[in-house]
Structures are given as C-alpha cells and as structure tokens.
C-alpha cells in the first residue's frame, strides 16, 4: 500500500506545490505554497523536484502514518518533529517505514510547516497543478483541507536522495519580528496623502485573527486619503476605485485603517485602492508570520526585488547541488 494515513489533519493542512499560474485572467489565483523557499527545500531534500505535491500545515502539524519506505523532510516553521515519539531533525531527509507515525509539538517560530515525502503527494493534477484552492474546492485532496482518516496517495519515489542529508543552518530562513516586507509602492498609492503614505511605512502593523491563505488583515494605524471627487464608476467611498486587478502581494486599503495583504488564494480584482505590492521573495516571509505578530512595510524598488529573487534561486541551487553532489 502506497499511501499516507491521516490520523489527525491538524488545523489547516492542504496539498500544495509551487502553484497554478496562467488562470489569473478568469479570476483564479495561483494558490501554491505560501513559503515557496521552504517548500522547494523540503522537496529537494527527499529527491523531488521543487514543484512536487507536498503538505502545508498552518499552526498545528498533522499526525501521519506511513505504509511503506519513504524519505520525508519537514521545513518551514520551527517545531519539534517526532517519528514514533522519538525526536528527528527538521530540514533533514529522514527515513520512515510502514506503521511509522510522524507527529509535531507546538510551533515555536513561524506559521507554516512543509512536509515533503519522496515520490510526492500524488493527488490528481488540476489545470496544471496539485495545489489546493479551497474557496472553489479545486485541486489538492478533494479541494479541501485534510481531515482525520483521509488517505493520501503517493507517487513513485526516485533514488536520488539520501537519508541524513540536511540543509545547512545558513540556508534556513529566520523569523524575527517585526517581519520586514519589502514593498514596491505604487498602483493606487496616489489615493493617500503624503502623511498617509508615511503612516503606512512607519507603522508596525499587527496581524489580526483574519490572516489566512487569502490574505492578512492588519491593524495599527489610520491612513489619510486625499480629497477628490470620485471618478465615474468608482463608487462613493474614498477607498473605492473603478474595479481593477490586484497583483498577488498587493496591499488594499478598505476603510483606510485595515490594510489587507493579498496572498496566494486571494481575490484577483475588486474596487479597493491598492497602495503597493510586497515583492515575491518576501511573500515567503509573510507566509511564516502569525496572527498577533507584527509586520512592517519597507519601501523598495524593482532592482532590489529582482536581485532578491535571483538570490533566492541561487540558494535553492546551492541546496540542490549540496544534496546531489553535482
């Protein structure tokens, strides 16, 4: 039997890969792992390509029983990881066999655990991806989060990876607070006064309980809009604009005092002014920030964003080379 028995699904555990690009124009967001770096590392550790189906668990890790010999790796948030109650290393390829049970203690840092299994979680590919998009119930395991007693199909494992290999400390992310999110200011930032924009950048924003794969709602400051006669079709509220597209990572400002950072499962457009976009690399970081923690937006430019992206790709290459020895 080549599957995983889910003893406990955790709080919100879904199958993800690196996402489902190419359907934004019909209003479908990309989904995919919130922390793409940790997800890629986990897959590489067990000999999978980075874009292989794996599990993303928010706040509470699942309890999983294996039915055959596999390599597993846990990355992302920090927690004690156990197999049959015995501690094992995170960020390391760990061998498991039939009846072995993987479990987790409470998270001590970060928000999302990634659990990769050699061969990958082999749910059906939907529109080019195994990622779960729970809002319309597509992809992943039945389009939903895992529940107790689910059985997850596994793919055939390759022979590339070796047990005991690990990602060096220097290549593991750190989750200091406040999380600093580099942001390209723009889009509809003209809706804010100079003072409003300064408040946006100076405020240490607190993550509310409404923070999930769709977006993170923040609180902590009140942003001043410029006075204007609302243009035709925009609606009467000063935070409203003529409905437009929202980039993944963009920050919308309903009401001016509750910015929402839109993330992998977000609505693709709407009528609220947006004031900038968190760069793609720092979406990994916000994906590891928890309700109750704080974030700060740091203004940056396109060059910095592209450099950060190349550096992340280079780190992933380093991990790949270290593991495969070439």
């Amino acid at each position: 039997m080549s599957d995983i028995r889910v003893h406990a699904g955790g709080l919100f555990t879904t199958v993800q890969d690196l996402g489902r690009p190419g359907h934004y124009r019909i209003g479908m967001p990309p989904s995919g792992a919130m922390d793409q770096y940790s997800a890629s590392a986990a897959n590489l550790l067990v000999g999978n390509e980075p874009n292989t189906g794996l599990l993303e668990a928010t706040y509470i890790g699942p309890t999983l029983e294996f039915t055959d010999h596999r390599l597993i790796a846990v990355t992302g948030a920090t927690a004690s990881v156990t197999v049959n109650g015995e501690p094992v290393e995170a960020w390391t390829a760990v061998p498991v066999g039939p009846s072995d049970v993987l479990g987790f203690s409470m998270l001590t840092a970060g928000a999302r655990l990634y659990i990769a299994v050699s061969g990958g979680i082999d749910v059906p590919v939907y529109l080019g991806s195994r990622s779960t998009y729970t809002l319309t119930g597509i992809g992943g395991f039945d389009g939903r989060k895992l529940a107790d007693a689910d059985r997850l199909p596994l793919g055939e494992a390759g022979t590339r990876a070796r047990a005991g290999h690990s990602v060096p400390e220097s290549l593991r992310p750190e989750f200091g607070t406040p999380a600093e999110l580099r942001t390209i200011i723009g889009l509809c930032s003209y809706r804010l006064t100079e003072r409003g924009l300064k408040t946006f950048l100076d405020t240490e924003w607190k993550i509310t309980k409404d923070a999930n794969r769709v977006g993170y709602r923040l609180r902590g400051g009140s942003l001043e809009f410029t006075d204007r006669a609302q243009p035709f079709g925009a609606g009467s509220d000063p935070a409203n604009v003529v409905d437009l597209g929202y980039p993944v990572g963009s920050i919308q400002l309903p009401g001016g005092d509750e910015p929402i950072v839109l993330l992998n499962d977000a609505v693709t457009g709407g009528g609220y002014a947006t004031t900038g976009t968190v760069i793609s690399v720092d979406r990994d970081r916000i994906g590891q920030a928890k309700t109750g923690e704080t974030v700060r937006f740091v203004e940056t430019d396109l060059d910095t964003a592209l450099t950060a992206r190349r550096e992340r790709a280079a780190r992933i290459d380093t991990i790949r080379e270290a593991l495969t020895g070439n």
């Binding site: 919100f12 706040y59 309980k209 409404d210 923070a211 928890k290 309700t291 109750g292």
Partner: protein, 79 residues
C-alpha cells in the same frame, strides 16, 4: 497540576456563543476530550479540549483576549 495551552494564535472565547453559558466554570470537573473554550483564527472557531480528566482551576486569560501559540489558558487539576 498542568496547564492547558493554546495550540494556535487567535481570539479566546469561553462560550460557544455570546448569549450562551461558558463551556466550563472555574472549579468545574471535565473529562478528557471535553471542550473548554474556543480560539477563533482564520475565520474558524477551533475547539480547545482537555487532554485529561480533572478539575478546572483558574482561567489564565479573559474571555475575548488575544492569545498566542503555547500560551497558558487554564489550570487543570488532574486526579
């Protein structure tokens, strides 16, 4: 004595709904698996359950408070 801890961050509630009675009062006896409170996060209300039989001592957070992962919620006197 042990403490029941929050496994997730969010807003802590001692009642199933604002107009209802609390799940359990201080000094009340509970069985393992029994719900003692809710934590609201990610648009869901998650039941917090006791891991053992016993008597609830003091609640260590107020109804409606924000809690973080690992925070002590209530004292539990086990037999």
């Amino acid at each position: 004595m042990v403490t029941i801890k929050a496994g997730m961050p969010g807003i802590f509630y001692r009642r199933p709904a604002p107009e209802d009675e609390p799940y359990v009062s201080e000094g009340g006896t509970i069985a393992a698996g029994q719900t003692i409170a809710l934590i609201e996060v990610m648009k869901t209300y998650n039941e917090i359950r006791a891991e053992a039989d016993g008597t609830i001592g003091k609640f260590l957070v107020e109804d409606g408070d924000e809690v973080e992962i690992g925070q002590d919620l209530a004292e539990l006197e086990t037999a």
